[in-house]
Symmetry: C2
Subunit: 424 residues, 2 copies
């Protein structure tokens, strides 16, 4: 397999040098081919669904596994959006004359070879491929095994279209077997970036077992802090939305922190609404004294439930909330509910998370909702991209220096001097 | 030690929220304190130098170890430059109204806690501290053991000044013992980024033994390709400069690739000049047939000599040169000598390196020479910063979302729509 990956690596400089028009043509041909081959794709998907049902796969996974007219329409419209976007490559980010006739340019370029390991969602294969093509990256794809037949067909259709458009052979590769993931993790030096999506345990496994840089997030322990100056009329719906709108999302709230001064007034009102939604509250002793709920243990502070469970804790002030979040949180997204702008700014300055929100649901942490178009994933790291990552996260840059015989010795000796004049 | 590192981590949100004026005051007080304590610093340095001489440390290391009036003047002027620079924090990179009353801002922030392990150059301690202060990062410093006394004194002076200026306690930490490096590598989750500088073997050791992201480079196998359309009058001095101007630099050239059509004319002329400079040439069979030189082995293709040695190989065309560089190079800096602009563009598009140069020496790859002011290091990775890294490489960003009660449910149900209006 490593030899196959090496072929992808060798294709990557030509992919990086490909013209924006060629990459757009590839996207257009990919879109058309998906449309032409729709029946074969749907048939493969029906076979996957049948198998999954026979294997008693859970309903939410079946829903994600389905690739039908609606999903095809969505991915096609996503491809169309990407075609309409400006070429992200060959963008001059810095243009500086260092000295007479010695010109430095910093120009955007792709990262190179991206390995993406994703869940059982065939539409993700199409989206990720399209993002990589637009950004001039080669891609190695490994989708969830439940979608094996659909993914195989989709990959066939897409890679044929992309070749026909004139992009380099081997600019895309698919892994079909789960055992190949282990081999992929060893491809340090051939794969430039890994983007794993899926369960916390799986992403953590990837992060712990490779020397390839990894972009993504394992945990999503998000918090909402209800300040003493909160508008309760806003706080209740925000918490209900953040907890229940999509319970298994990484940006769902897991821990609620409430200012002591407002707890007696606020908690009973919240509890009534959470009861209607079937949310279990796990409270500290102080909370149990105010509302009927089960008792939280220390483990609740660092648990991502991904379920209809919310842990609740009282704090003395915004500083205690900040400290709790920075210590127990996963630096994903945390929100404060307050009408006091000074308190909000303090919270947003001091909470060390990719997203710091005031008076809105943590569920907004998403590339689509930020207006990025497609999303590669959400990063909780601070190196390279942070938060929801769009096309920009798949880019690097290189420095191009144009001279006419300049040597460093002349500058070291003082014979010549740099003048650093920005052209742009 | 981990507990000490945790204190630094806990200080990092307050450091990130510190005002630009406070950070500039800290830089000013640091500069003044260094000036006031100059005699004590020089005395500590004399003791280090005496010890190093007794230990028969090599002359180039002694030179780097020295911290005298000249070095103090240089670092002071560097601090002054940083004070004059605009605050890199709290810069709005994106400002977008997602919907009525729901406003997203992407704002620059520090990375957090930076661990820097550097060679026996006391001036590096001052530069790195100053860069971290300006960018609001906490820093953990480990300098070369030969400079132990000087570093201890410098750290005392700087950290006292920084505290007095009002920056958080524990925003700086120094490791004094080499054994502590191993412990630092285990501080995943507390240290956000490691920047190791030093020998290839050392940097590689760091990269192989930590889960903390590492910025830097192990190898620097840089190439110059002399094209058939090269101006020989430019090629010879460029190669001599790139090889001999500072032989132990990572951006010195190690392998020369020459187009076959120009080899018989060019190599004898180059050889004569290299002989004057005492450079040993290791050539392939074809090269040995043209000029007297020792025979290269396969290992020479991937050796960073850091010495007066140059391996020379002939190629059929620019594509073979590109393939050789992408395979054997370390993606650091590679230069083409040609008067043919089309060939140059092909080379610069296809060579996958942080720096791709035309008609100039590879030795220009340096933050100072790019006009970045100070330099943290040079990165050969493509994730986060690439090439020479200045202040910008020490920054991340966070997304701040301001609402007035918005919930995702309203957008998922279609009750509300995003309108994505860029304010800036």
């Amino acid at each position: 397999m490593k030899e196959e990956v090496r072929k992808v690596k060798l294709a990557s400089p030509r992919m990086a040098a490909s013209a924006g028009d060629t990459r757009n043509l590839a996207l257009r041909m990919m879109k058309e081919a998906l449309d032409e081959e729709r029946e074969a794709i749907f048939a493969a998907n029906r076979a996957d669904l049948k198998q999954a049902e026979a294997d008693a796969v859970a309903a939410p996974i079946l829903k994600r596994l389905k690739f039908d007219e609606g999903k095809l329409r969505d991915v096609s419209s996503g491809i169309q959006d990407l075609i309409a976007m400006e070429d992200p490559l060959f963008q001059t980010q810095l243009w500086r004359e260092l000295d007479e006739g010695l010109v430095l340019k910093r120009v955007s370029c792709p990262i190179g070879v991206i390995g993406v390991i994703f869940e059982a969602r065939p539409d993700a294969l199409v989206q990720i491929s399209a993002l990589c093509i637009k950004s001039g990256n080669c891609v190695i794809l490994k989708g969830g095994s439940e979608a094996r037949r659909t993914n195989k067909k989709l990959f066939e259709v897409i890679s044929a279209a992309v070749q026909k458009a004139g992009l380099p052979e081997n600019c895309m590769m698919q892994l079909e077997d789960r055992s190949e993931i282990r081999e992929l993790l060893d491809c340090h030096g051939l794969v430039d970036l890994l983007i794993p999506r899926g369960s916390n345990a799986f992403v953590q496994y990837i992060m712990d077992n490779t020397k390839i840089p990894v972009m993504g997030h394992a945990d999503g322990i998000c918090h909402i802090y209800v300040d003493k100056d909160a508008d309760i009329g806003k706080a209740v719906p925000i918490i209900v939305d953040a907890k229940t709108q999509y319970v298994s999302a990484c940006n769902a709230v897991e821990t609620l922190l409430v200012h002591r001064d407002i707890a007696r007034e606020f908690l009973p009102e919240l509890k009534a609404t959470l009861d209607e939604k079937g949310v279990e509250v796990r409270g500290t002793e102080e909370v149990v004294a105010i509302i009927p709920c089960s008792a939280a243990t220390a483990a609740d502070d660092s648990t991502e439930y991904l379920d209809y469970i919310l842990s609740v804790k009282l704090v003395e002030d915004v500083q205690e909330a900040i400290d709790h979040i920075n210590y127990f949180g996963s630096h994903h997204t945390d929100s404060i509910v307050t009408e006091n702008q000074e308190t909000a700014e303090l919270f947003m300055n001091l909470v060390d998370s990719a997203g710091v929100y005031q008076n809105c649901s943590t569920r907004f942490a998403d590339g689509y909702r930020y207006g990025f178009g497609a999303e590669v994933g959400i990063s909780t790291g601070k190196i390279h991209a942070r938060g929801p990552v769009g096309l920009e996260g798949l880019l690097s840059y290189k420095y191009r220096l144009y001279g006419n015989g300049q040597i460093v010795g002349d500058y070291a000796s003082g014979k010549k001097q740099f003048h650093f004049r920005d052209i742009k």
